[in-house]
């Protein structure tokens, strides 16, 4: 049997055993889900296991060894046993009754795991984009003696990045003994499969709960019948993972020359493509025309992740990343947003579980405001009456904190999003039970703060060493999404969502609720708009005013640090918007928004329908509630799953609306990363909603409306599937069946066997600081530290800067490495060796081509620890350093 196959089986068995070990926890913490969290047990297992290992190692209780990993696994097993110690019969009974569900989930898992492992085996090399960075993290974490792990590309510092996913991968590597190069690709396949079963499981729960409620409340003989969701949950993983945006369709049409006409002089022209204004697609197609997307120069499938483009006042284009899951998997980077996907779905499942809880304690207590008022007035009040205290006592709260906090460590941007979702679930439940009023907002804020704080506390060691890339908010005036871009991106989900929203509001909403929806939507959209312009005004006018003040007084130190920061931000704001004239910025940007109203009108409409739907659950029309602490009663008759789907859409809307007006300030300066991270999560949320909506529409609609909606949804769905079909085709069209491999480092062996031999030697050698050639990001530089787990003096300087490393940290490292290689002076080389505590000096082809090497000084003073035809590794012993130090003093 091939080694790759054995590695695959090992990973399959390991993750499956982990899932079985964790199922009792899932069974206990997700009891309201019809699948009892079975499909999420592997994800829960990885989360709890990873958390225990990371925490114990960070607290220096466990060691970063295989023993430490087994220690954490033992604790997980113990925890699993304890949470269910008296309920085993219940669990076994459920398994017996639900073998069909288990089989479905297992099938989805094995098929998706095999499928993506196969796809990865056709192009396994870990080269290009940020794969080397991810590989470097994985290897560095595996070899770090303590946590926080060493930064592989900046000696003397620990990783300043959200690295939880890499900890999990490193744990799997060490438990299974698989080579890191193979594990990288197996991780891609594993996370694909985990996301697939998580998505499947969540949509299964939504559909089955929907059907169950419908059966229970029906008047016919269906009342006691168990609802079977059939094959429909499969649309969960299809919508989330497989479907793409419409760029694939556009590429196909473009390649075939559709909408292009050839003039008499032989030139192509097209109004449609000019209007669409997508880079590369505005150019005429290359002949011969074909239905298969092709690009003579460049990569056609890359464009799908860049269909959005922002323009400054002076019409300078700014690149925006709009990745969606299939693109990310096709690219095969193990980036945090990919690694966080199954855990984000877990957070949604936790929200659903809370939503479906019949007697959720929070709804029985009093809020802090009322409690404080009673206490102040001398009434007898108990601390335990507080809603917050009641919530803190529940296992749901702590599990939610573990999962959402874990998202903060996996992909920090996701943390507030899913805390917000859970907060909104609680708010909706409160609306359903007690009606809508301002206290609901207080509930939302209190719960979000509490859950967020708990999530931070659980992962505190991470935050203590983490420097965020975000440096505040900036108003987005000229930067906004156009309607065509929004629809190109999300059409596959927006179309079913709009059909369902219209049906829901038409069928169930009253006029009053629609008005409430309209008002709410107008407040939110125009409110954000207003706030962004106020911000814009502040950033435009106040720095100018301050500068004037300084010039009038002639005292440059007049303002404190914060004021100076505001001036700097103002400067950045000017620079980014492309004009230094505030009135120009404010007025022209407003004009442009009205010239391109597609996106905000879409969002306004959608928000109106969503809020109108949510207001159907508002119990204020049902009966009056005398006191907040009364036992809640629900008055609505609408299937509660509608409410959850509305919340998913609402959260997605928030993620799309917010960056229309405000974005996070990072190293790039414009919306590139904000859109990337927000739209990616909106895709997941709307994907789940759309998959559930398909089933709801199938159940609820009647012909001919049903047929028309099916036709429209099918067409848009097929359009979304064109991208993955051609994407996969491109990867497997020249498949070499004999050379399928999962080893991402095999290319090093193929092209530079000597270097691979050296890397293998360094993998076994003690951890030291390594000197190797330094160069730009996304390149082959830092390749030795990347693949060996040793720590380089400096790897990709640009990326270190992105991770918040300032000039003081980066210093003159790049120049010093150059000096080390080039200088003929041993004294000078000694200084560099000492300053960075270098233990290995690596000489390979890249070093030779990069620097004019002077090796004589090394040959005279250092020992060669490893050498072959093309590589030499010099060792710098402690004695040399000590001696160096004395020499230095001399």
């Amino acid at each position: 049997m091939d080694w790759a196959m054995i590695d695959f089986i090992l990973w399959y068995l390991t993750i499956s055993i982990l899932g079985l070990l964790s199922f009792p926890i899932a069974f206990r913490v997700l009891p309201n889900l019809t699948s009892k969290g079975y499909g999420l047990s592997r994800v829960i297992g990885l989360l709890v296991w990873g958390f225990l290992f990371w925490l114990l190692t960070s607290l220096q209780i466990a060691q970063n060894t295989l023993g430490g990993i087994i220690f954490a696994l033992g604790l997980l097993f113990l925890f699993s046993y304890l949470v269910l110690r008296n309920n085993w019969r219940e669990l076994f009974h459920w398994i017996k009754e639900n073998r069909n569900v288990i089989l479905q989930i297992e099938l989805v898992f094995i098929i998706s795991f095999c499928f993506w492992a196969f796809i990865r085996s056709t192009y396994p090399d870990i080269v290009g984009t940020e794969k080397p960075m991810e590989m470097a993290f994985i290897n560095a974490i595996s070899r770090s003696p303590i946590f926080p792990p060493n930064d592989p590309w900046l000696s003397g510092y620990s990783i300043s990045y959200y690295y939880f996913g890499y900890v999990m991968i490193s744990m799997l590597i060490r438990v299974t003994g698989v080579l890191p190069g193979v594990a990288f690709n197996l991780s891609s396949a594993l996370w694909f499969a985990l996301t697939a079963i998580a998505g499947y499981s969540l949509v299964y729960n939504l559909i089955s709960s929907y059907g169950q409620y419908k059966n229970t409340n029906s008047t016919n003989n269906k009342q006691n019948r168990k609802f079977n969701p059939g094959i429909w949950p499969i649309f969960g993983p299809i919508f989330i993972l497989i479907m793409g945006n419409l760029e694939g369709l556009l590429e196909m049409l473009h390649s075939k020359g559709v909408f292009w006409t050839k003039n008499l002089d032989g030139n192509w022209s097209s109004e449609f493509w000019s209007w669409l204004n997508l880079k590369e697609l505005v150019n005429p197609p290359s002949e011969p025309l074909t239905w298969i997307p092709e690009r003579v120069t460049g990569i056609w499938w890359w464009r799908a992740s860049r269909i959005l483009e922002d323009f400054t006042f002076s019409m300078d284009a700014k690149e925006i990343i709009d990745e969606f899951p299939f693109f990310s998997y096709l690219l095969a980077d193990l980036h945090p947003h990919v690694l966080a996907m199954p855990f984000a779905i877990l957070a949604i499942a936790i929200a659903l579980n809370i939503y479906l809880e019949k007697d959720f304690p929070i709804l029985a207590g009093v809020n802090f405001q009322n409690w404080f008022r009673d206490w102040k007035s001398g009434e007898s009040v108990n601390f335990s009456d507080l809603r917050l205290v009641k919530w803190l006592k529940t296992r749901e709260f702590w599990f939610a904190a573990l999962a959402t906090g874990g998202l903060g460590f996996l992909n920090t941007w996701d943390f507030p999003i899913y805390v917000g979702l859970i907060g909104m679930v609680i708010m909706l439940r409160a609306i359903q039970e007690r009606g809508w009023n301002s206290e609901r907002l207080m509930d939302l804020i209190t719960m979000c703060i509490t859950l967020g704080a708990a999530g931070v506390i659980l992962y505190l060691p991470f935050y203590l060493g983490f420097g965020s890339q975000a440096g505040g908010f900036l108003p987005s005036l000229f930067f906004f999404t156009k309607g065509k871009q929004l629809w190109m991106m999300f059409a596959g989900m927006l179309v079913p969502a709009f059909i369902w929203l219209i049906w829901l509001n038409w069928k169930h909403s009253s006029k009053k609720q629609l008005i409430q929806g309209s008002v709410f939507s107008a407040i939110i959209v125009f409110g954000f708009w207003f706030v962004s312009y106020i911000f814009g005004w502040v950033f435009s006018v106040v720095p100018q005013w301050m500068n004037n003040l300084i010039s009038q007084t002639g005292n440059p130190n007049l303002l404190n640090g914060k004021a100076q920061e505001l001036i700097n931000m103002g400067g950045l704001f000017y620079g980014m918007q492309g004009s230094s004239n505030p009135s120009e910025i404010l007025i022209d940007s407003l004009g442009r928004r009205f010239a391109f109203p597609g996106a905000w009108i879409t969002l306004l409409l959608m928000l109106m329908l969503v809020w109108g739907g949510i207001m159907i659950y508002n119990s204020e029309n049902g009966f009056a509630i005398s006191k907040e602490s009364d036992v809640p009663k629900s008055t609505y008759t609408l299937n509660p799953i509608h409410g959850f789907v509305l919340l998913l859409l609402l959260m997605g809307l928030a993620l799309v609306i917010v960056p229309e007006f405000i974005y996070l300030r990072d190293q790039f300066g414009w919306r590139m990363n904000t859109i990337f991270k927000f739209y990616f999560q909106a895709w997941i949320l709307w994907g789940i909603a759309a998959a559930t909506i398909l089933s709801i529409l199938r159940i609820e609609l009647k012909t001919p409306v049903k047929q028309i909606s099916n036709l429209i949804i099918s067409l848009i769905f097929l359009a979304g599937c064109i991208y993955p079909i051609f994407g996969i085709r491109m990867k497997i069209q020249n498949i070499d069946w004999q050379n399928l491999s999962l080893d991402g480092t095999a290319h090093i062996q193929r092209y530079n066997a000597d270097e691979m031999e050296a890397i293998e030697w360094l993998r076994e050698a003690p951890i030291e600081v390594l000197a190797e050639a330094v160069g730009g990001s996304y390149s082959g530089y830092a390749r030795i530290s990347t693949n060996s787990g040793q720590t380089s003096v400096i790897g990709w300087p640009g990326h270190e800067s992105q991770w918040g490393r300032d000039g003081g940290m980066l210093g003159r490292r790049e120049q010093d490495i150059e000096t080390l290689y080039r200088t003929s002076s041993w004294q000078e080389a000694q200084r560099v060796l000492n300053e960075y505590d270098i233990g290995y000096v690596y000489i390979g082809n890249l070093e030779e081509s990069q620097y004019r090497l002077n090796l004589e000084k090394f040959d005279r003073n250092l020992e060669i620890l490893f050498s072959n035809k093309n590589v030499k590794i010099y060792g710098v012993s402690d004695d040399v350093k000590e001696k160096n130090y004395i020499d230095g003093e001399q």
């Binding site: 114990l56 607290l59 220096q60 209780i61 466990a62 060691q63 060894t65 295989l66 023993g67 430490g68 990993i69 087994i70 220690f71 033992g74 003696p145 020992e863 060792g875 012993s877 004695d879 040399v880 001696k883």
Partner: protein
């Protein structure tokens, strides 16, 4: 089950324990630590010097020994002290189970345990797994006595005793599993966990286990990460199943013959007896299973070593003690007289056979004629011995014959054991490598130490302050040896001659100025067991003699320091 309430019971067991302790502490400081011991001693030393990161395995040894170093100073004795103390506690489980065994049985067994050469030798090694073995026996004893809290403590201590205990635990678990399969459901002899799993006992055990693991395993919470060492041991213990074998089956077989002949003869006899007489004794069945399973597991285990035979030696001793207990002279006076006379004659005959056998084995020094004579003598004595046995059987019956045969055999085997024990205690000046010594024996430490002191005093005025360099030598035993010299370092090559007074190198041809003169010396001696012929094996078994391989180093010193003597 007989309950023994002898007047001097405690005194007797105390004396046996004192014997066990004396044998384990005797001459404990002599001889340098070998590489295997030095690895652990150096880790304990690092811990003592404030590096908790070294506790990745065998936490109990490292913590107790580092505390010992802190209180009593750093020495070979300190490095070996705690395994010796804990090894002597092997008497305790026998004492605890004396009512189960019966007084005579328990007494014989405790004496055998206290004096067995492998058990004594293994207890005298720094970092050995002997404490773990003792704690497993204590765990079983306390569990049997339903002392669950103390059982939990013992289990915690077992887990902290290194990775080698996992082979033993594997043997015990497999044997227990087979035992449960063999005993029919519902039978009273079946091991029942019902009481244990339902009462508070489970909690007591868990408290004991966790308390020990966390408090002792972390050195009183001073080194929290040491808790993890248990899991490192589990991983490394089981990863040994993927190791490449270094000890041959021949070495294991000879090891059994050389060290376990007494328990084998009596223990296997006991096993056969129980099997053929169908005695319904669950302990004997379980012990027999441990022996069989243990032998199979040790043979299959790729990282097997000769000392692993301890796992079958202990149950064999228990079975043997039962047989020895049953040996007594006949109540019939005439028969008793014959038995005593027969035993004396048999012993004399065995002595004659043994002396001739030694002569035959030592073939280098005897002529072919002498060898022929010695073989004829041996055969003749053997024939006389057989005739004597036939006569006794004919005249006085089977029981008398058995005694005349078995008792002298037992006495001879016991004497052999005692002689091996002498080797273990380093009582002779001759180097006598044993099969269970995985590493070579370190010699000349005293002489080297004297040389260092002399040279250092003549250079610095202090016995320890000389600048010493070990050049490209990765030898834990040597690293341990130089621990007291603050200016001793290991280097890949000599950086600066002017900074060095003494150099030790493996290579005779290192580049040094004429100021330095060198003298080679033997640091370690060992037997290459792989190259042994049948004749070599026989010689080794009889005389403990074999060709020794030397591990030599060169000591370099400045000529100027070599003034005087």
């Amino acid at each position: 089950m007989k309950k023994y309430s002898g007047k001097y019971e405690y005194v007797i067991y105390f004396l046996i324990w004192l014997l066990a302790l004396s044998l384990r502490l005797w001459n404990l400081d002599s001889g340098g630590l070998n590489d295997g011991e030095a690895i652990w001693a150096l880790k304990a030393l690092d811990l003592h010097r404030g590096e908790p990161g070294v506790i990745t395995s065998n936490g109990l040894y490292l913590i107790t020994t580092s505390i010992h170093f802190s209180i009593f100073g750093i020495s070979n004795l300190g490095a070996r002290f705690w395994p010796a103390i804990m090894g002597s506690m092997i008497i305790l489980p026998v004492f605890l189970q004396r009512n189960l065994f019966g007084p005579k049985f328990a007494f014989i067994l405790s004496v055998l345990f206290s004096m067995d050469p492998i058990l004594v030798n293994f207890s005298r090694e720094a970092g050995s797994s002997m404490p773990g073995i003792v704690f497993i026996l204590l765990l079983l004893s306390f569990f049997n006595l339903k002392k669950y809290f103390i059982s939990g403590i013992m289990l915690g201590l077992v887990l902290l005793s290194g990775n080698q205990i996992w082979i033993g635990l594997t043997i015990l678990v497999i044997s227990g599993f087979i035992y449960q399969l063999l005993i029919r459901r519902g039978e009273s002899n079946r091991i029942s966990f019902e009481y244990f799993l339902t009462g508070k006992s489970r909690l007591y055990l868990i408290f004991g286990l966790l308390g020990t693991w966390i408090i002792i395993g972390s050195g009183g919470l001073i080194y929290p990460s040491a808790i993890n060492s248990v899991f490192n041991d589990i991983v490394s213990g089981f990863s040994l199943w993927g190791a490449i074998p270094t000890v041959s089956f021949i070495e294991l077989g000879v090891g059994l013959l050389a060290y376990a002949s007494l328990p084998i003869v009596f223990g296997v006899f006991g096993m056969i007896r129980y099997a053929t007489k169908n005695e319904n004794n669950p302990q004997n069945l379980y012990l027999s299973l441990i022996v069989i399973v243990g032998l199979v597991v040790i043979l299959v285990f790729p990282a097997h070593e000769v000392w692993h035979l301890i796992w079958i030696l202990i149950p064999l001793y228990v079975l043997a003690a039962k047989q020895i207990e049953s040996l007594d002279f006949s109540s019939d006076k005439s028969k008793a007289l014959v038995e005593k006379l027969g035993i004396v004659v048999a012993l004399i005959m065995m002595m004659v056979i043994n002396l001739n056998f030694r002569g035959v084995t030592n073939s280098i020094y005897i002529s072919p004629e002498e060898m022929q004579q010695r073989i004829i003598s041996m055969v003749a004595v053997l024939i006389v011995f057989i005739i004597m046995i036939i006569f006794i059987w004919y005249g006085w019956g089977v029981e008398t014959t058995k005694r005349v045969f078995i008792i002298p055999v037992g006495i001879v085997l016991f004497i052999i054991s005692i002689s091996i024990l002498g080797n273990s205690l380093s009582m002779s000046n001759q180097i006598t490598p044993e099969l269970f010594d995985t590493y070579g024996e370190v010699i000349n430490t005293g002489r080297l130490s004297e040389t260092f002191h002399g040279l250092s005093i003549s250079k610095t005025g202090n016995a320890y302050f000389a600048d010493i360099r070990l050049i490209d030598i990765q030898k834990p035993s040597l690293n341990w040896f130089i621990r007291d010299y603050p200016n001793a370092k290991i280097e890949e090559y000599v950086f600066d001659e002017s900074q060095v007074d003494i150099i030790i190198s493996k290579d005779e041809n290192i580049e040094l100025s004429s100021e330095f003169v060198g003298q080679d010396f033997v640091w370690e001696q060992k037997i290459n067991w792989k190259n042994m012929t049948l004749n070599n094996w026989l010689q080794w078994i009889v005389f403990r003699q074999a060709d020794l391989e030397n591990d030599n180093f060169v000591l370099w010193s400045r000529q100027s320091l070599l003034t005087g003597d």
